[in-house]
């Protein structure tokens, strides 16, 4: 009895205190007065940070298309002008707290952020996760408002402050990655460690316990950030505000990154577990990284065709689904139009496959882009373009019954739909891709970077990641630690026969890139 009353009193007084503080700070959007005491860790009144926040928020509204840089470029001023005009506000050239508050207010009123409308690959966590995040933010000194498990403005501002304190991408959204980082910041070794290692990876591409265990074992704080696309990765490497130590580029982008001087050569001699790498995968990596000087394999996957057998059998009984023609041949694709036929919105992956379907088995620059353009030209109105963050759900829910896409996404759709989705590398051509590990040229913690890479070369560690993310790894000894369901899933580990149909994802020249962008813009209109 006594403890209960005491706890009740503590909670009441605690929330009373917190409410009190909230009133003192002013509800974020409610006041027009610029606040001297901004949320805990935001840099005190520096114009750059505010400008960058404004740029980020305006980009989210679609008014600003550059990469947020923190400088008041003409495009930024134009965006601010457009925003002010659109919302009937006095035009301004300065980025003040008042402006930021109005932008946030408009966004909250017009965009559905509280339900996780995030144009990327990660969504907001559920209510339980949100509540846990709010508690953790509070423990770190960032007031997230009431612990109510809903994503409100105060939670968003607190999350932004947390992300700023870690010098990672600031978006203010509580995704699975952010929640993972919050947990580690509170429970992990982090705060007491003297050394840090900063990682930059794709979303949903790590197992949280791997990072936690590394922190503990080496007494090195792990800061984990994500990038949304290969362009995003390059931009982050170039701006170099706070450099990263280990990055995970797709292999076909490694040559360009290396030639731009953005990657450093790996000190392979310092990697004790180097011999665990499967020499076959490592050899394939040299299709892109010629000498293997800059990268090592992390995960590998294929780009092929995923489908819902029940639905496709209804639309086209007896049809063999493991063929590119099911999507790229207009006559066949039309048969699947009723149940939904599509391609994932990734030009650099779909166009090489379209070129293969058009007869160009090997990537050949202009010839391939021409072939692809012809193929895609005949598919207008029949084949849909599915945003990357909707691919998994579209397949899992049956909205789409056949689509070209990544094997890893297909595996996740399989899991979500309890086995209703199949995936194969098409017999008439698929793509083989490797995601690599590399150390940026401007990395500040090269020793810790190599420690972490060496750690990922342990079979138990990489197997844990494979089991969690559903991708195949390149470790000779990881087999015994991988779960049977992942190992034996032909979508994760295709047979040698089906792999023989695939070709390495091509290196695209600048010209190729431009052609592809042009073709895709036309096709995905």
């Amino acid at each position: 009895m006594k403890i209960r009353t005491f706890a009740l009193l503590a909670v009441l007084s605690g929330s009373g205190w917190m409410l009190g503080t909230a009133q003192a700070q002013g509800f974020v959007f409610g006041t027009d007065k610029p606040k001297a005491d901004a949320p805990a860790a935001a840099p005190a009144g520096t114009r750059n940070a505010k400008v960058e926040t404004a740029q980020r928020l305006l980009a989210r509204m679609g008014l600003f298309r550059e990469t947020p840089s923190g400088t008041l470029t003409p495009a930024t001023q134009e965006a601010i002008r457009a925003f002010s005009v659109q919302n009937g506000l006095a035009p301004t050239n300065q980025v003040t707290d008042a402006l930021l508050n109005s932008i946030r207010r408009v966004i909250w009123q017009t965009q559905n952020w509280s339900s996780g409308n995030y144009k990327g690959r990660e969504k907001l966590v559920d209510a339980a996760g949100l509540r846990e995040a709010q508690i953790l933010l509070g423990k770190l000194g960032f007031n997230a408002g009431p612990l109510d498990g809903t994503f409100g403005p105060q939670t968003q501002v607190a999350t932004e402050a947390f992300q700023e304190s870690q010098a990672v991408t600031v978006d203010g959204l509580i995704t699975a990655t952010v929640l993972m980082n919050l947990r580690r910041a509170v429970n992990g070794v982090g705060a007491s460690a003297t050394a840090t290692v900063r990682l930059l990876n794709w979303p949903d591409y790590i197992d949280p316990s791997v990072l936690q265990d590394f922190e503990k074992e080496h007494n090195v704080r792990v800061v984990y950030d994500i990038f949304a696309s290969n362009d995003d990765l390059q931009a982050k490497l170039q701006t170099g505000k706070t450099p990263y130590d280990v990055v995970f580029p797709t292999a076909n982008t490694v040559p360009a990154l290396a030639s731009k001087g953005l990657l450093g050569k790996l000190d392979k001699a310092s990697l004790k577990n180097l011999s665990n790498i499967d020499p076959r995968v490592d050899a394939t990596l040299r299709a892109w990284d010629k000498e293997g000087a800059y990268s090592l394999p992390y995960m590998w996957y294929t780009v092929g065709i995923a489908w819902n057998p029940k639905l496709t059998a209804k639309a086209f009984p007896g049809r063999a689904m493991d063929s590119l023609t099911n999507v790229f041949d207009p006559e066949v694709a039309r048969r699947f139009q009723s149940c939904g036929v599509g391609v994932v919105d990734s030009a650099t992956d779909v166009i090489p496959l379209a070129a293969m379907a058009g007869g160009q088995k090997k990537w050949d620059g202009k010839n391939s882009t021409n072939a692809a353009a012809q193929v895609l030209g005949r598919l207008a109105g029949v084949v849909k373009v599915i945003p990357t963050d909707q691919y998994i759900d579209a397949l899992a829910t049956g909205k789409i019954c056949v689509a070209i896409g990544f094997s890893g996404d297909a595996v996740q759709a399989q899991t979500k739909s309890h086995g209703a989705v199949e995936y194969r590398v098409p017999v008439d051509g698929g793509l083989l891709a490797i995601d690599a590990m590399a150390v940026p040229a401007n990395a500040k913690n090269k020793r810790e970077a190599h420690l972490f890479i060496d750690y990922l070369l342990r079979p138990q560690v990489i197997a844990k990641i494979s089991n969690t993310v559903g991708y195949a790894n390149a470790n000779l000894k990881a087999g015994e630690f991988m779960s049977e369901s992942v190992k034996s899933n032909p979508a994760v580990v295709p047979s040698t026969a089906s792999l023989s149909h695939s070709s390495p994802i091509p290196i695209l020249s600048e010209q190729d890139q431009q052609e592809i962008t042009r073709i895709w813009a036309k096709f995905s209109k």
């Binding site: 499967d278 020499p279 076959r280 040299r286 790894n473 470790n475 190992k487 792999l499």
Partner: protein
């Protein structure tokens, strides 16, 4: 001292019998069986095999292809014809043919002959053969000492010839 129950007497008897059988095996019987198979047994004077036993293809300095029939339940295949003859045969075939024959021999378990054809195919520029030879080098088959670095070089050679040597079911 307590008297022994029948059960305990039986268990002790079993243990003694087991120990004797183990001693007999390690000291004598094992050699009798091993003599029928590939390598002359190393001096197994120690009954307990605490150190790592030699792999199937012992790190032999000589690269001469030994008739490598593996001690297995399957009936031992007929002793391979003299490799010298196979080398001559291989020299007359095209790279692609050698690669194909080598692959078939590999599938059927005739590693020594497979090796001859694959090595010739690799020399003559075949990519797929480099993959298969790399696999053999990785596993130490056909008299090739297991060597990951040499295997890696072969896989990279295949890649330079635009062949992907991927394994499945890792």
């Amino acid at each position: 001292m307590a008297s022994l129950t029948p059960l305990s007497k039986g268990l002790i008897g079993l243990a003694v019998v087991g120990a004797m059988a183990s001693a007999v095996w390690h000291l004598g019987l094992k050699e009798r069986f091993a003599a029928r198979t590939e390598t002359p047994p190393a001096a197994t004077s120690t009954p307990a095999r605490t150190d790592e036993p030699a792999p199937l293809a012992p790190p032999a300095p000589a690269t001469s292809p030994e008739p490598s029939t593996i001690p297995a339940p399957t009936p031992a295949p007929a002793p391979a014809p003299a490799p010298a003859a196979t080398t001559a045969q291989a020299a007359k075939l095209s790279a692609a043919d050698n690669a194909e024959i080598g692959r078939k021999l590999l599938d059927s378990g005739d590693f020594a002959q497979a090796r001859v054809h694959l090595e010739r195919a690799v020399k003559d520029g075949d990519g797929g053969a480099a993959c298969h030879l790399g696999e053999m080098t990785l596993k130490g088959q056909g008299g090739i000492p297991a060597n990951q670095d040499k295997a890696a070089a072969l896989f990279q050679l295949a890649q330079s010839r635009n062949i992907i040597c991927f394994a499945s079911g890792k």
